[in-house]
């Protein structure tokens, strides 16, 4: 039976129970993020009226006011509160049957904010890492393949980049730029690419003198084709490992930024933002700290577990 590289990696990966558990957790988190309005929100999931069965999740408030009173039956999400809806009568309530994880200082339901906050964390992690992997692959490949002055220049830039105090620089940049989730993604993405670039460059330096590269050049393949179709696939394993750890790091940085007040602008729910509220009510409001911190911790752990599992799976010393 033909066994590809990724097939072997996957077989190795499956043997590691903790890593597989981490992978399941990530899938679960993504499901929660994608289905967030169906899990937590103040709009009905299902409305059964004369018009038949409909979902209210994507309807505007006006449409809902029109249709809900006429409905025979409506089903609300399991957490029937919107993440941004104020309820000043129920400020800072500890967890109870009504609000499973309590409420924050504006009476917003924490459980609902946790569910919707998953969208922010996961998308920041995903987009920021995509940016830095793309940047790292392009710069690393060119530096490693062409060498010479290009390599010298890129290596120099990488060296400069490595010496930046990362969090300090991100904070300084965010302090002067407008507050937005996209800017956070780009800034985190721009600070992380050097690791991938060094990795890819190293792999290219190692593989370029090999025969298969000379062979593809002999049959007339151009630089781009040799770089991205022939050499790069060999470097993708380590890049994937580094990207997985990178997602964990990006999520950590995003929540730290929100914690320091430089994160996603309000009223968007984010884990770090809820956690930072706890700082104002440190006397008693443990639920403001426990749940969002737990969410951050579990997400980071899941990505780190998968990263470790992958790293061990692609290690050739272990594949034999």
């Amino acid at each position: 039976m033909k066994q590809g590289y990724w097939h072997i990696v996957w077989r190795q990966f499956r043997k590691r129970r903790l890593a597989v558990a981490g992978l399941y957790l990530i899938v679960l988190l993504f499901l929660v993020a994608i289905l967030a309005p169906f899990i937590a929100g103040n709009k009905p999931i299902l409305i059964w009226s004369d018009d038949g069965l409909k979902t209210g999740v994507f309807m505007s408030d006006r449409e809902l006011r029109d249709i809900v009173p006429r409905a025979r039956c409506t089903i609300y999400p399991p957490i029937p509160y919107s993440p941004t809806q104020y309820d000043l009568e129920e400020r800072l309530e500890p967890p109870s049957g009504k609000h499973l994880l309590g409420t924050d200082d504006r009476g917003r339901d924490i459980a609902s904010r946790m569910v919707h906050g998953a969208r922010i964390s996961l998308s920041v992690g995903f987009v920021a890492v995509s940016i830095f992997v793309a940047l790292g692959i392009v710069t690393g490949s060119f530096a490693g393949y062409y060498g010479g002055w290009l390599d010298a220049l890129i290596s120099r830039i990488i060296e400069v980049w490595l010496c930046f105090p990362t969090l300090f620089l991100i904070l300084a940049a965010l302090a002067v730029l407008p507050q937005s989730i996209y800017i956070i993604m780009v800034v985190i993405g721009l600070t992380g690419w050097t690791g991938v670039a060094r990795l890819v460059r190293g792999e290219f330096l190692k593989l370029r003198p090999q025969d298969f590269v000379a062979a593809s050049r002999a049959v007339g393949a151009g630089g781009g084709r040799i770089m991205f179709r022939h050499i790069l696939p060999n470097a993708l394993g380590p890049v994937l490992v580094s990207a997985t750890f990178g997602v964990a790091a990006a999520i950590l940085v995003e929540s730290a930024l929100s914690f320091l007040g430089f994160g996603v602008p309000p009223p968007t729910p984010s884990w770090g933002d809820t956690l930072s509220q706890a700082r104002n009510y440190m006397d008693f409001a443990w639920w403001l700290a426990l749940f969002p911190g737990m969410a951050i911790f579990v997400t980071i752990t899941a990505y780190n577990l998968v990263g470790e599992g992958l790293r061990d799976s692609i290690d050739p010393r272990l594949t034999q």
């Binding site: 120099r156 830039i157 060296e159 400069v160 490595l162 010496c163 930046f164 105090p165 969090l167 300090f168 620089l169 904070l171 300084a172 940049a173 302090a175 002067v176 730029l177 964990a248 950590l252 929540s255 730290a256 914690f259 320091l260 956690l275 706890a278 700082r279 440190m282 006397d283 008693f284 409001a285 443990w286 700290a289 426990l290 969002p292 911190g293 951050i296 911790f297 980071i300 752990t301 780190n304 577990l305 470790e308």
Partner: protein, 347 residues
Amino acid sequence: MRTYIIKRLLLCIPTLFGITLVTFLIIQLAPGSPVEMRLRALAGAGMGEEVTAEIIEQTKKLYGLDKPVLFNTTAFREKGIGGLFDARYWIWLRKVALLDFGDSYKDHRKVSEKILERVPVTLQLSVISIFLVYLFAIPIGVYSSVYHESGSDKVLTLLLFVLYSLPSFWVATMLIIFLGGGEYLNIFPIYGLSSEGAENMGAWAWLLDRLWHLVLPVGCLAYGSLAVISRYCRVGMLDTLRQDYIRTARAKGLSEKIVIFKHAFRNSLIPIVTLLGMLLPALLGGSIIIESIFSIPGMGQLAFEAILSRDYPVVMGIATISAILTLLGILLADILYAVVDPRISYE
């Protein structure tokens, strides 16, 4: 060795130049400046528009913000090539070359003075936490490599993994809520480094009070590095224990104690020693997050405050110093490599 060090130090100069240039551009090109902040304060005070316009010009001149950021093209046309560099970055660079980081916008004190008074505070935190990290990390790493694959190794490895993934700002917040007064236990102080009236205490009482204040922040600073370094130590030891000369040592009948501590341990220390070099920037740079959570007036807090109030000279001063420390740390790590491992030489 000396030529190598001199060469490396010279190579640091272009890198430093790049770092300061990028940082300078990021903070100076952004919209919103100290001048606008002052304007907003004046608008609040109900000043007329003409008066404010005049004050803006004056303030700009005072801070040197009336000149362009990178290249002064007007002066270039008038005075030639010398005028081109009559711009903010080059003026700043010229002063820094003479070790003058300028004055803070906020209180007009010297930046170097402001930084120097924060250093001892941060040093207390970082020296104690680094000491504790190495004190615990190395035995843990050695232990779990010697008892590789045993139950206690697995438990320790998992525990360290969990520690590694715990966000320090979460741990700090939880500790403050549950141990720092309020409705739950009141064991540790949560603000600053001394209690009120600490100046009047006796030496012993003062020291105890200080240590008591340091427990939580040092703990939060230390546990992450503890996890990283003991994992390094474990992997290094495992690698060494697989070597042929360890088998030889065992085969010739040396006791397990000597094999592990004399033959294996000393060789596995190499990567750990070099990690010390990497700690240099952390030693003085402090932690923005931990210092601001525990209201500790160290470098991290100064950096955070400077960013919040757009105190450009302070921000640039801290960025430059931490870049220098990082570069020196890398160099130190490379030198330590050659010192502890005679197989490596830079001749």
